[in-house]
């Protein structure tokens, strides 16, 4: 009997360790706790640092407030806080310390309020004692002219890949969420991008030599696939689309290390485009850095296989952000800086003549700066060619 009782112990632990989640969660973030919630207008403990706004269409002065804050004290000290800015809540910050003691918050948050407010990014630091009963406040005003971190999403796809539209739809959802902070590129490569040699379906060739080289360099073998800033997550430089959101969210919590400004000059008659890329290094960085500048074309209507459409062969599929050309003909761009100092700048200018098959109203320049050895992107930007 004693042994049987011993057996029940690991069984109980195993079952206890599993959430039997029934159905999808509801909207919104972490639900509010049932008790110890206090909303008031005192002064919040700690500091708001490094705040900036990106994507705002007009200058704005807004309040950032702690929407709710609570603390429970006992054997375990537990605190949580959610900020609100222009009516939009941040993710919650939750921490616990055992035994009871000060709770140390040190995290970067972003709140995407959309146009005209843009996305607010800020760093919150606080040590809150175990005996505090809760506070919240109006804290800070923000200006809209500061650089913010941006992220590059490269979506490897093919027109005859039936599951690839799932990746494209996820990219669109994330662009709707993050606005100008997310720079998407669709790279058509691999066996699914090979155009048909007969019939009238899938005969258009979206591929470019640079796109194929990029896919080969990253070892893309399965589709759809993607890479976020060419940064490894769990030792993989490629991620399937369900992992894109969390990878982007994590990167966007970091402060920007560089700012990229694109200035385009386009002669519609000659279809001649000149683009000037200015890279400002906000912080000093170690390593060699490359700049890649691509021409992409948005909203190309053409055939696409789509597992979730009826019929699966869709002649009117809208292909987003198609990688058309690298300005210097190389996917890896060119070297621009070695261990740049804080506040140093590099300016580069490139020109090309647009092919007649491109719709210049839908063309954009995408530029990104990345570590030469790891390819990890530091910052990215895009600009329509007509400015």
């Amino acid at each position: 009997m004693k042994k049987l009782i011993m057996l029940l112990f690991p069984v109980a632990i195993a079952i206890q360790s599993c959430d039997k989640v029934e159905g999808p969660y509801g909207e919104g973030g972490v639900p509010a706790p049932d008790n110890s919630v206090t909303i008031n207008t005192g002064t919040i403990t700690g500091s708001i640092l490094d705040y900036s706004v990106v994507g705002a269409t007009e200058s704005d002065t807004s309040f950032l407030e702690a929407k709710w804050f609570y603390l429970e004290s006992g054997d375990t000290s537990y605190a949580a806080i959610i900020f609100e800015w222009n009516g939009v809540k941040s993710d919650s910050l939750e921490l616990s310390v055992s035994p009871a003691g000060p709770v140390h918050f040190d995290d970067t948050l972003s709140i995407a309020a959309g146009s005209p407010y843009g996305t607010l990014i800020f760093h919150y630091i606080a040590d809150i004692g175990a005996t505090a009963t809760g506070t919240g406040t109006v804290i800070v005003t923000v200006a809209t002219n500061q650089a913010a971190r941006t992220v590059l999403l490269v979506d490897f796809t093919g027109q005859q890949c039936i599951y690839c539209p799932r990746g494209a739809r996820k990219a669109t959802e994330l662009e709707n969420l993050y606005g100008e902070q997310l720079i998407g590129i669709a790279v058509h490569a691999g066996s699914f991008a090979i155009p048909a040699t007969s019939g009238n379906m899938y005969t258009y060739d979206f591929r470019t030599p640079e796109a194929t080289q990029l896919a080969t360099e990253l070892g893309v073998q399965s589709y759809p696939n993607g890479s976020i800033n060419f940064k490894k997550v769990n030792n993989n430089i490629l991620q399937l689309y369900p992992a894109w959101g969390s990878a982007i969210a994590n990167l966007l919590q970091l402060p920007p290390h560089a700012d990229i400004t694109i200035t385009n000059s386009y002669d519609e008659t000659a279809r001649q485009l000149t683009t000037t890329i200015k890279t400002d290094f906000i912080k000093s960085l170690t390593g060699n850095f490359n700049l890649a500048v691509y021409l992409i074309e948005d909203n190309i209507v053409n055939w696409q296989k789509d597992a979730d459409a009826i019929p699966v062969d869709n002649p009117n599929y809208v292909h987003r952000h198609v990688f058309r050309k690298s300005f210097n003909g190389l996917y890896e761009g060119e070297f621009i800086a070695a261990s740049p100092a804080q506040n140093s700048s590099v300016e580069k200018q490139y020109s090309l003549t647009l092919s007649n098959e491109y719709n210049d109203d839908h063309c954009e320049v995408v530029a990104f700066v990345f570590y030469e050895n790891t390819m990890e992107v530091v910052q990215a930007a895009r600009m329509k060619i007509g400015n």
Binding site: K3, A14, K20, C161, R166, G219, P224, N234, A307
Partner: protein
Amino acid sequence: MIRKLIIFCLAGSGLMGNSLFAQILNNTGVHGNFELNAQYYDPDSAIGAPVVPEKMLSNGFANILITNGRFTAGIRYESYLNALQGFDPRYTGSGITYRYATYTSDELEVTVGNFYDQFGNGLVFRSYEERSLGYDNAMDGIRLRYNPLAGVYLKGFIGKQRSYFSVGPGIVRGIDGEFNTAEIFKSLADKKTRVILGGSFVSKFQKDDDPLLNLPENVGAYAARINLLHGGFSINAEYAYKYNDPSTVNNLIYKYGDAIYVQLAYAAKGLGLTLSGKRIDNMNFRSDRSAAVQDLNINFLPALPKTQTYRLATVYPYATQPNGEEGINAELFYTFKAKTPLGGRYGTGISINTSAINSIFTSPASNDTLGYETDYLKLGDVTYYRDLNVEITKKVNQSWKLILTYIFQEYNKDVVEGKPGVQNVHAHIGIADITYKINTKNSIRAELQHLATKQDHQDWAMAMLEYTISPHWFFSVYDEYNYGNEIKDDRIHFLNAALGYTRKANRITLGYGRQRAGLLCVGGVCRFVPASNGVTLSITSTF
């Protein structure tokens, strides 16, 4: 030799006294094996074989195992410089990918490090490797096996899964109990009927920081099974249930998953009969919700169709569809006795194996995030796979042996390869496998194969000749020819030749030839395996 070397090094280092050294020497066993597969690649535009910048690629590994009484430890060193074509490039590099130590103390066995294991039929947990496919979901953590009472077998583990040269992001933990009634209750020990009951619970944890979705961080799955034996009859049945688990493979739906697997078998002298059935619904279960193809599977969904080995029978290989399928398989073995009209002088073996696999019935769900609803009593109307295999094995006399096979396959290329709009392939395959034993040392084996189909790449023929000089040498040459292809330029010969040498525990095989391209699709992600042409070298060794 290696054992002596290890002991010599330890003794030389002065870490051991002589008596302890001798004791360890006497009780320690060192075993292992080595395998190297290398290929030199020639670009071949006719079959679409790509240029390989490295020209030569290789996969190699060695297992080294040390045992001493109740203690076992081992490592595996793997090297992919760079990985062979068709293997995931994340295998590039070298290193120790598997290391473990196990000891047994009375009724408790403890393993730390890497381990492979399985609960029941694997519906909720199976960790295993298949090196030739580049599949390895080894656990890295702690496993306990506990045998507290006669007939009671408990297992528990916690760990992460191997992902190439790293581990996946999710934590997997599970517990399994198996109860053999004939061992627990002495009164049942002599009964003809034996019952073994089992139950499992497995859960995974993966952090949710998705900005758009609220995803379950802990996903649990449980299973219950029974194995009933009565004389030559046996029943093996298992049911598994998985809580909602949005993932790449199920396109992020929140529906639960379940699976049932039943196998009935009867065996008697000269006769074997097996009837299997299964139904799978949304049972993809991985320790990373974004993983696909062959990465980070926690469970294993057994395949019903017969595993094919003849080359043209593998042109259309069916792969289990984890998002949903239901099917049955029946298999009959019978041996006509020797010295009967059908058995002849040496007896005649016949086996018949047939499978039918369909989609599951689905209808729209009330809530989009749940994906769909199913009805257990209705059959899905999409044919995924059908096959019929008839194989006759006949030893004609001391010199001649025949294996004659007919196979029919219906293959849903749309579902298995992600090629919508393509017709199901109906293939008829005939195979003659003939062995002629010249004398006690020399034999010749020939295979003649033909695949006839009006779909896909149309007809294929294949011929193989193999000469063996026992016990050391073999030579083989074969050609696969897609002679019936509607596109004349694609009527390609896939010619291969190989020679092998075996001596004691070492085997060396050298080959040259072309390999067909392939496509592998699993639940929403497709991976292309390119064609190849070149020289291959394979070396295996055990000690």
